[in-house]
Amino acid sequence: MTKIYLTDYKTLPEKVGQVFQLNGEEIVLFRLSNGEVRAIENKSPHPKGGTLSEGLVSGEYVFCPVYDWKISLIDGKVQAPDEGKVKIYPVERDKEQVFIVK
């Protein structure tokens, strides 16, 4: 488990996903309207795949931009009637700095 610095909190716009590339892997940070930051893998669990960074954010959910699946940003679970799970990364904040743990 390592803590990786991604960016400063102030660079994160509200409700618009920001993509970070780590060794070819893409992680999206979402700053929710309650101020919290969530991190998920930028890969839809839909069988046809696709990205999640451009999805519409509502509360603690993101809607997959391509197939409209509703995905929880808390536990990564796809909401019924669809099924699946997105990889979630724990986010830590040290004052203004945003880290993920992986």
């Binding site: 990786i4 610095y5 991604l6 960016t7 660079t11 716009p13 409700k15 618009v16 920001q18 993509v19 970070f20 590339q21 780590l22 060794n23 893409e26 309207s33 069988p47 046809k48 795949g49 696709g50 990205t51 451009e54 999805g55 519409l56 954010v57 509502s58 509360g59 809607f63 931009p65 391509v66 409209d68 509703k70 019924a80 009637p81 669809d82 099924e83």
Partner: protein, 809 residues
């Protein structure tokens, strides 16, 4: 005493219906556990064909939501199959090793597609047509492959074939017999069906038996027993179904073709019951929903210890769920010398009817092209009514043509007449439910009575009954469909509240109007954003983050997360200079695909998100809005400038229209076409707005559609000058913007409000002027979005950047 433990193997329509009946009779009697091997809650298997045909989505056919199981304290294990039943210990064991004890056990395992035991049947691209997964396989294949072969020309095969046609595949249907659906139709009706389906694009290969499926890993074709071959990239086996009896058999329960049950659905082992397609009753295994539901009712009563009539078998009627085909069949279909039949054939109208009468009673019905009499005749057949006193005219009320008016009038229907054949619901039951529970929608009637919840063919009749029972109240109720699950308010109510309370932002609307989900969803957010922009005109600041991906990014997302870039090319007219720029950009950014679009312009496909602003800057052209709910393109023909037939300057008018209306937010996308003569090379007849030049003037067509709802445009007006064209289209456009539901195309909107109404409304010059003023005011607010992204660093960072994070390894 504790609750009895009821376990059910299978989570399909027959089983879950049985559980529903049990919950109605004795809600507290059982602790219920259900195992389903599919990863879904109970869904409407009959509707799979409509999913495949693109009329509904998988979500729409779910019958019992996950919440339903929770609310009724049912323990549900999906994606988990039962592999053994220990009838001594009274336990079931799942493939995940879970052991669950039961007091009573229901086996409702349904059936599977029968896969022909021919060499190659295990290749990739060979599927049955039985569940959501099969459907998904077919939909996926249709995106990658072209040629489908459906083996089996019965009900299921034809529905699958129609679906595959809708998915854009070429479809061969292979049938062993000389007639399609030979178990339901005689050869006359079968021939008519074949002609119709051929006209729809199916290709039939009759009297052929499949010997082998060809190909390496994936199927490439079929070989028949006579040695001939065809090519195919997808093979759908629809030759029949086979009851799933393996587990029952291995557990020592008596089986024949199905799991054998008595009139109370009891199997040979005490406390074990079977219901549905896996059960065999009096040597019959049923595959249609109505008998299965009858069985479920009897089983539920038996389990609850309530006295019930035994199940004595069913007579079934069938229809085919294929658009453009209306057929019904029940009972025996061939007559012999002991039977008398009434036959009516009207080739002109494509109608054929045959009623087989034996011993003065109807014993068989085949109706093709006009099935209005089906429920009445079917009732006579089931009730074994004596028809000796009747004339052929009174038996066949609707006669030999499209049907006499009023024969199926709701008012004249008897109360005990069955409306929903699948669930055995009569008109009387529906009317009572509507009155007692104040129901106002077809869905509510379904929730209360089950009518219309299976094959769905009777839904329009249920709507008629609602209209008949409620009168004017129905019309009011009909209008009130909630915007989405986040609110109970309808579109009209939301818009009225916005105006009345002077709401100015998406957030405010959702706060003030008490949205259930505070920040809305993908249905309401874009809709509310649109309505605000429509009401507030140039005063509204668009909420970019309430738009879905394409409009938010000003580019179309592709399935791999890249985008397409389609610059504006007014009227489809370009120049050497623009073409050079496009070519240079395509080279510089190694664009994987450069293609002419359907709207007369050039698309660059596969551009990376982070390259978008730079691509736009290098192009130096405006956005073509190929992703927007707005004016897409104005397709034009060359017109009078070059064409010897052209009577008008179609390019000139097209460009003028495109420049005027570009960027305007509309309820859905809007397409236009301008042709210079009635040869109509710009295909203006299938555009939202189509203009056709004639000698000395222009014809204006509206509400055409070349897509999902193929529809020819209606001639709206003929005018003399292009100024009149622009004025009329402006007024029409603004009226559409102000009254249509978000995501309603002009074609649907015109059909809903009525063309005559729109004509009448726009006949008044003052009205038109006011509409055009509001439109022009709205048009002031738009800026060129690509340019904005190039110039505004904040926009670039917010939407288009990908940040590299150095990782120390």
């Amino acid at each position: 005493m504790g609750k009895k433990k009821l376990v059910m193997i299978g989570n399909g329509m027959a089983g879950v219906r049985t559980v529903e009946e049990i919950l109605k009779l004795a809600p507290e009697a059982f602790q219920i556990t259900i195992f389903g091997h599919e990863p879904h809650p109970n869904y409407n298997r009959i509707q799979l064909s409509t999913v495949l045909q693109g009329d509904t989505t998988v979500e729409d056919i779910i019958m019992n939501s996950w919440e339903w199981y929770k609310e009724n304290n049912i323990e549900l294990f999906t994606g988990e199959a039962i592999v053994a039943i220990d009838t001594n210990k009274k336990e079931v064991i799942s493939d995940k090793g879970r052991v669950v004890a039961y007091d009573e056990l229901i086996i409702a395992t349904g059936s599977s597609s029968f896969i022909l035991p021919v060499p190659g049947a295990d290749k990739q691209g060979v599927t049955g047509f039985r569940d959501i997964q099969d459907c998904e396989t077919m939909i996926k294949s249709s995106m990658l492959y072209k040629k489908a072969a459906v083996i089996g020309g019965g009900l299921l095969g034809l529905e699958a074939a129609r679906g595959l046609l809708n998915l854009g595949m070429e479809v061969d249907v292979i049938h062993l017999m000389p007639d399609l659906m030979e178990r339901q139709l005689d050869s006359t009706a079968s021939k008519m069906l074949k002609d119709e389906l051929e006209a729809q694009g199916m290709n039939f290969i009759m009297e052929k038996q499949t010997a082998e499926i060809l190909g390496e890993d994936r199927v490439t074709g079929l070989r028949f027993t006579d040695g001939t071959e065809i090519e195919a990239d997808l093979v759908v086996m629809a030759v029949g179904i086979r009851p799933n009896i393996q587990v029952a058999k291995e557990s020592g329960i008596y089986v024949n073709r199905g799991i054998v049950v008595n009139d109370f659905m009891e199997t040979s082992v005490p406390n074990i019951f079977a219901v549905g397609e896996c059960a065999e009753h009096r040597e019959m295994v049923y595959g249609l929903v109505a008998p299965l539901y009858e069985q479920g009712k009897v089983l539920a009563a038996t389990l609850c210890g309530i006295e019930t009539k035994p199940y004595e078998g069913s007579i079934v009627g069938t229809g085919l769920k294929v658009s453009g085909v209306d057929l019904f069949s029940a009972g025996e279909i061939e007559d012999d010398k002991h039977a008398k039949s009434i036959k009516v054939q009207n080739e002109f109208d494509g109608v054929y009817k045959k009623i087989v009468i034996r011993d003065n009673r109807i014993s068989g019905i085949v109706l093709y092209g006009d099935t209005k009499d089906s429920s009445r005749l079917f009732k006579m057949l089931v009730n074994k009514e004596d028809v000796s006193g009747m004339t052929s005219v009174s038996i066949l009320e609707s006669g030999c043509c499209g049907g006499a008016a009023g024969s199926n009038d709701i008012a004249s229907m008897a109360d005990d007449e069955i409306v929903c054949g699948c669930n055995g619901v009569s008109k009387g039951t529906i009317v009572q439910a509507i009155q007692a529970k104040e129901l106002t929608s077809v869905d509510e009637v379904g929730a209360c009575t089950n009518a219309g919840r299976s094959c769905g063919r009777c839904k329009s009749q249920i709507a008629d009954i609602l209209a008949y029972t409620l009168g004017d109240k129905f019309k009011e109720a009909e209008k009130k469909t909630a915007l989405c699950g986040c609110t109970t308010l309808s579109r009209d109510e939301v818009v009225a509240e916005m105006k009345e309370k002077g709401l100015t932002s998406v957030k405010e609307v959702m706060n003030v109007l008490g949205w259930k989900q505070e920040e809305g969803c993908t249905k309401c957010r874009p809709a509310v954003n649109y309505y605000l922009g429509m009401i507030l005109q140039d005063q509204y600041k668009d909420d970019r983050d309430s738009r879905l991906v394409n409009e938010k990014m000003h580019a179309n997302i592709q399935k791999d997360g890249t985008y397409s870039v389609i610059p504006r090319m007014y009227g489809g007219v370009t120049s050497a200079e623009d073409l050079k720029k496009i070519a240079e950009v395509a080279e510089k950014y190694e664009v994987p695909l450069v293609k002419l679009t359907g709207g007369q312009r050039i698309g660059l496909y596969g551009v990376k998100k982070e390259d978008l602003p730079a691509v736009w800057e290098d192009l130096g052209m405006d956005s073509g809005y190929a992703y927007g709910k707005t004016l897409r393109t104005v397709k034009t023909c060359v017109g009078a400038k070059f064409c010897r037939y052209g009577t008008q300057d179609s390019m000139g008018l097209g460009i003028e229209l495109e420049k005027k209306f570009e960027r305007l937010d509309t309820p859905h996308k809007v397409k236009m076409g301008v042709s210079a003569c009635p040869r109509n090379c710009a295909e203006a007849g299938i555009k939202d707005f189509g203009v056709v030049g004639i000698d000395g003037g222009w014809e204006i067509y509206v509400a055409g559609n070349g897509g999902t709802d193929l529809r020819a445009g209606d001639l709206f007006a003929t005018v003399k000058t292009k100024e009149e064209v622009i004025e009329l289209i402006g007024a029409f456009m603004q009226y559409y913007r102000e009254t249509a539901n978000y995501l309603e195309r002009t074609s649907k909107w015109v059909e809903r409000v009525g063309l005559d109404h729109v004509k009448e409304f726009l006949a008044d010059e003052k009205t038109r002027k006011a509409l055009n003023e509001r439109l022009d005011k709205t048009l002031l607010k738009y800026n060129e979005p690509w340019n904005e992204a190039i110039e505004n660093k904040e926009v670039q960072e917010k939407y288009y950047q990908k940040r590299e994070v150095p990782v120390l390894v």
